[in-house]
Symmetry: C2
Subunit: 144 residues, 2 copies
Amino acid sequence: MPLEERLGADIKRVEHELMAVKQAAVRPAGLTVAQYSALLVLAEQPGVSAAELARRCRVTPQTMTTILRNLEAADLIRREPHELHRNVLETRLTEAGRKAFEAADERASAVERALAAEFSEQERDQLRALLGRCSKVLNSQPRD
Amino acid sequence: MPLEERLGADIKRVEHELMAVKQAAVRPAGLTVAQYSALLVLAEQPGVSAAELARRCRVTPQTMTTILRNLEAADLIRREPHELHRNVLETRLTEAGRKAFEAADERASAVERALAAEFSEQERDQLRALLGRCSKVLNSQPRD
DNA sequence: ACAAAGTAATCAGTACTCTGATGCTCGTCA
DNA sequence: TGACGAGCATCAGAGTACTGATTACTTTGT
């Protein structure tokens, strides 16, 4: 199958471009894209567990552990044992974490707004629907 | 800006699913997705330089060096100095490399065919066009 | 002819991401 | 009560992937 016909190549290309632009957007705040994603969930849902964060950010718990380690070392988050479940660590933004997140979010949101502004509401729905059908196909593929 | 409205989230989700399925597809051949991508270009264009491979696979030359180091250690590729440009290393598949690539490609192509089969030709063009407009917006964003 | 600009390769260091494996705690239910 | 499954956290190890820097060669411009 020729490379140019592969829809996957288009999807990957756009995702790659998106990551490059997002990285440039959050970098001035001293964050990586992965760190920004984690902080985004933390800002909406303080005290969430690392496992839940991992699910929301679509990474494995091991990966999230790595990301949180770096965020904690930079004093952007704080982790404390859960009241009842001694096994769970609650994660929260520090003041510095909130500031960094807000600085990054302003610029990251601008990227999303630029993307949204390119399309009419109908086109946006259309793109979402087509991507949704890609998801459907992919999720029905064998994972072995 | 709410998370659900962000088009980037949809793009990222689909790309993530695509990578997961592709990884499962190439893994039985003993390859990673990045290695498969490099071999795909190498199969079409024997003797290509690492720098060109990097451009084709959309990674930095440093990253491609790492990938090629692993492929060479597994005896899937061979690297030899270019005839004229002593500065350039030509990379080629070994016999084992071709076999691994073909095994992986059979399964990876099946994923692409499944994706293609979901859409009519018109829908495919539509999806491509919409993704192309995303690219246009993203490439016009400041990279700082 | 020689400096400047461009291209190729690679080292060093950091971060993200996965698989595989382990240890801990909680809730369930026999 | 006590085994056991489920969920949380994390260690270990490998593979990407980036920025930043260096070295070497080639082409281009004056």
